[in-house]
Symmetry: C2
C-alpha cells in the first residue's frame, strides 16, 4: 500500500474495505494491552526460587546479618552483581531497593537541591534544563516535569542521539545540566549507542556546565535477544576524557528477576557517590538487604546471570518476531510507517505518517487494544509530528499479541488512508 | 551519692575511688554498643519464616501478581496490616517499601516542594520551620536539616510535648509548618502522649498555617512490654475537630519482623494522600509487593501480629529490667540523674546533671562502651544543657548489656564528681 501516489478513488476503496474489517474486529470485544514493558508471567516464573532461596541463612558472604538495620551502600554481594551488569568496579556501585527509577529520581533531586560534587544546585541556576533524546522514556520526562526542570529534545538516530545537535546545544547553553540516555536497546527505538556516540557523550563534560550529568539508564544492559550486542563502556570513555564526574549510571534486576521486587543499582565517580550518599543519609537507614542477598544467591556468578537471561530471550524472541512479522508483511515497501528491528530490550518503536499516531491509538483502543498513550515518548506528552507509537510485546501471551498486532496494522492503514483523503 | 551537698574532701575521695574502678574497666578492652534501637538476633529470628512463606504462590488475595510492576498504593492485604497497626481505615493507608523514615522524608519533600492539599509549598514561605519536641529522634531532625527547614524545640513532659508552649508558638508564628511526634513510647523518653495532649494536638490545625502538618511517627504502636498502653487515636481526634488534613501518620514492621526488610506505612486524609501519590508517581512504579505479601501471610489477622509482639516483649523485658535495675540501684535518692521507666518502645532516656552528658559518653567510649553521640536527641546535635543520653538496650545480649550498664553508671558518677569539683 502506497498512499502518496494513490488516486482518490483507490483511497476511497481502501477506506471502505478497511472500515468493514475494523467494524468486524470491534465486534469481538477484545481487551488486550501492549502498553508497558512488563515481563510476562512466564518470565517472572523463571525467578520463583527467590522466595525461600535463603533457606534460613540470612548472613551475607561477608557476615552481615541482612535482617537488621544499616548498610546504606547495600551488601557487597549485591553491589558485585550491579558491577557485573554495568561492567564497573564494585566500589563505585550502590545497591538499593526495588526501583532504579527511584534512584534516578533521588539523583535528580540531589543535583537539583544540593548539587553534585560541590557544584551549584540546579535550582539556583537561571534556567536549568535537561536534554531529552526523543522518542524516549516517559518516566524520565516525568521526573523533570515534576521538579520543574525544563526539557529540550534532540532526535534519536540509528546510532544514538544526534551528537552534532547535542554538542551544539551544550556549547550554546550552559544551563543544560542533565541528559537522559537509555544507551542499549533504547526505550523505545531499540537502538544501541555506537562507539562514536559514547565517546562523544563522554567528552561533553569537557565543555558543559561543571554540574552537568548524563543519566545513563542502562535498563537493558543484559537483555539481548540473540547475540550479545556490545555497548561501549561509558565509564572507561569518561575516565580517558577526564570527565568521570559527568556520568551517573543506573541498572536494576527489574527485568531480570521479579519486576516489582528486584534490586536497583547506581554507579558513579567517588565524588558523585559522596553526594548521593549524603542525600540518602537523611532519607534511609539502608535498603532491603535480605532481598539483595536473595539476588546474590540466585546469581552467585555472572555465568548464572547470563544463563538466566538466555531463558528470558527464548520467551521474548517469538514475541518480537510476531510484531516484526506483522510490520514487515504489511508495511514493507509501503509509505505507512517506519520502524527498527531491535536486537534486545522491550520495545518496538513505530513511526506513522505525520499526524496519524494519536488516531491509530484511538482506533486501537476502541477496538479493544490498549497502546501507550500518544505522545508518551516525548516530554510533556507532546509528539510534535504525532507519529511515534511504542509497542510493548513482552506481557501478553503470543496469541493475544498476534491478535493485537492485527488490530494495530489495520488501524495504521485506516488512519493513514483517512488522513490522506482529508488532505486531498 | 549526693553531690551537691558533698564536701570537697568527700568528692575527692569519690573521684579517687571511681578513677581506680574506671582504670580497671578500661583494661578489659570492652567493645560494646548500646547506641541504636536495633532488634537483637533473637528478635529477628522470630520472623525467619518470612523467606519461603509464599511457597511458590505469589498471588495476593485479590489476585494481584505481586511479582510484576505496578500498584503504587501497595497491595490491599498489606494496607490492611498497616490499618490494623495504626487503627485507621485501610483506604487511608499506603503500604510502601522497607522504611517509614523514607516515607517521612518524601512526605516532608512533598510539603516542601509542592505543598500538601493545595497549600503553599513550604519552600516558598518566608521562614518555614518545624516544632521538635526534645529530646527526640535524631533522624527526624536530619531530614529538616538537610532540606534547610529550621527547627524550634519544645520540651517533652511526662504526658507528651509541653502543649502550652506548642500552642503559644503556633499562635505566634505562622511559619511553623510541621511538628515531629513519636506519640507512643516516645524516642527516647518512652512517654506515651496523654489523651489531653492528643486532643490539643488535634486542635492545632484550627489556628495553624493551613499547610501545617503533624508528622505522627507511630514507630512503637504495638511495642508494649507488659500491658497494652493505650494511645488515643489522633485521626478520630482530628476528625472531630475538622482538622483531618493536619495529621500524617507513619508506621512500619521494622521492629516487628526484619528491621531492614519490613514494610512501611503512611496514613493520611484523602487530600493529603492525593498529594503524596502525586509526588510518588514520578518516583516509583510501585513498592516491593512480594515482600508485602510475605508480611500479609505472616500476619493474616491482628491476632497473629499480637502474639508475635508478645514474643518480642519477652525478649526485651529482661533487657529493660537490667537497665532500670542499674539506674535504680545507683541513682535512686541521688542527685546524679533522672530517667523514666518506659512501658515499651526501644529506649531509656537518662538525664545527667547539667554539662555532664558528653563527658559520660566520652568516658564510656574510652572504656569500650559506645553510646549514642552527645546531643543526638536534639536538633543540629546540640543539647543546650548537655544532659541527655539515650540508652538502647535491645541489641546486645543480656550479659553484655549488664557489663555496659556497669560501665555507664560508673562513668556517670565519675563525670559528675569531676564536674562538681571543677565548679567548687
Amino acid at each position: 500500500m502506497r498512499i502518496e501516489t494513490a488516486q482518490r478513488e483507490q483511497l476511497q476503496q481502501w477506506e471502505k474495505e478497511l472500515e468493514q474489517q475494523y467494524q468486524r474486529i470491534c465486534q469481538h470485544n477484545l481487551s488486550l494491552d501492549i502498553t508497558r514493558g512488563k515481563p510476562s508471567a512466564d518470565q517472572l516464573h523463571l525467578s520463583d526460587s527467590l522466595d525461600g532461596i535463603l533457606n534460613g541463612d540470612y548472613r551475607a558472604p561477608d557476615g552481615t546479618d541482612t535482617r537488621n538495620y544499616g548498610g546504606m551502600e547495600g551488601i557487597a554481594a549485591a553491589r558485585e552483581l550491579g558491577a557485573d551488569i554495568l561492567q564497573v568496579p564494585f566500589e563505585e556501585v550502590l545497591a538499593g531497593g526495588n526501583s532504579s527509577l527511584t534512584m534516578m529520581y533521588h539523583a535528580v533531586l540531589t543535583g537539583y537541591l544540593f548539587g553534585f560534587a560541590g557544584n551549584t544546585p540546579w535550582k539556583d541556576l537561571r534556567a536549568p534544563k535537561f536534554l531529552c533524546p526523543v522518542p524516549g522514556y516517559d518516566r524520565h520526562f516525568s521526573i523533570c516535569e515534576q521538579l520543574g526542570i525544563a526539557m529540550e529534545t534532540v532526535p534519536m538516530t540509528a546510532t544514538g542521539p544526534d551528537m552534532d545537535a547535542v554538542e551544539e546545544m551544550l556549547r550554546a547553553d550552559d544551563q543544560i545540566i542533565g541528559m537522559w540516555c537509555v544507551p542499549k536497546f533504547s526505550n523505545p527505538t531499540g537502538v544501541t549507542y555506537s562507539s562514536d556516540t559514547v565517546d562523544r557523550l563522554a567528552q561533553l563534560g569537557k565543555f558543559a556546565n561543571p554540574g552537568f550529568r548524563i543519566f545513563w539508564d542502562n535498563a537493558y544492559a543484559i537483555h539481548d535477544l540473540d547475540q550479545q550486542v556490545k555497548l561501549p563502556n561509558i565509564r572507561d570513555a569518561a575516565l580517558s576524557n577526564e570527565t568521570a564526574d559527568s556520568v551517573l549510571q543506573f541498572a536494576s534486576t527489574s527485568k531480570v528477576t521479579h519486576a516489582g521486587a528486584g534490586v536497583a543499582f547506581v554507579s558513579a565517580s567517588p565524588d558523585n557517590l559522596a553526594s548521593i550518599k549524603k542525600q540518602m543519609s537523611a532519607m534511609t537507614i539502608g535498603p532491603d538487604k535480605v532481598n539483595q542477598l536473595r539476588h546474590a544467591r540466585l546469581f552467585p556468578e555472572l555465568t548464572q546471570l547470563k544463563e538466566h537471561m538466555h531463558k528470558h530471550a527464548e520467551i521474548l524472541r517469538p514475541k518480537f518476531a510476531c510484531v516484526l512479522e506483522h510490520l514487515d508483511k504489511n508495511f514493507t515497501d509501503s509509505d505507512l510507517g517506519e520502524w527498527e528491528s531491535p536486537e534486545g530490550g522491550y520495545f518496538v518503536s513505530f513511526n506513522t505518517r505525520p499526524g496519524c499516531a494519536s488516531e491509530v491509538i484511538r482506533l486501537s483502543a476502541e477496538a479493544g487494544v490498549k497502546l501507550t498513550p500518544a505522545g508518551a515518548t516525548f516530554p510533556y506528552g507532546k509528539d510534535p509530528e504525532d507519529t511515534n507509537i511504542r509497542i510493548a510485546p513482552s506481557f501478553p501471551p503470543l496469541e493475544e499479541l498476534d491478535t493485537a498486532m492485527s488490530v494495530f496494522v489495520l488501524c495504521v492503514k485506516l488512519a493513514s488512508v483517512r488522513k490522506q483523503l482529508q488532505s486531498l
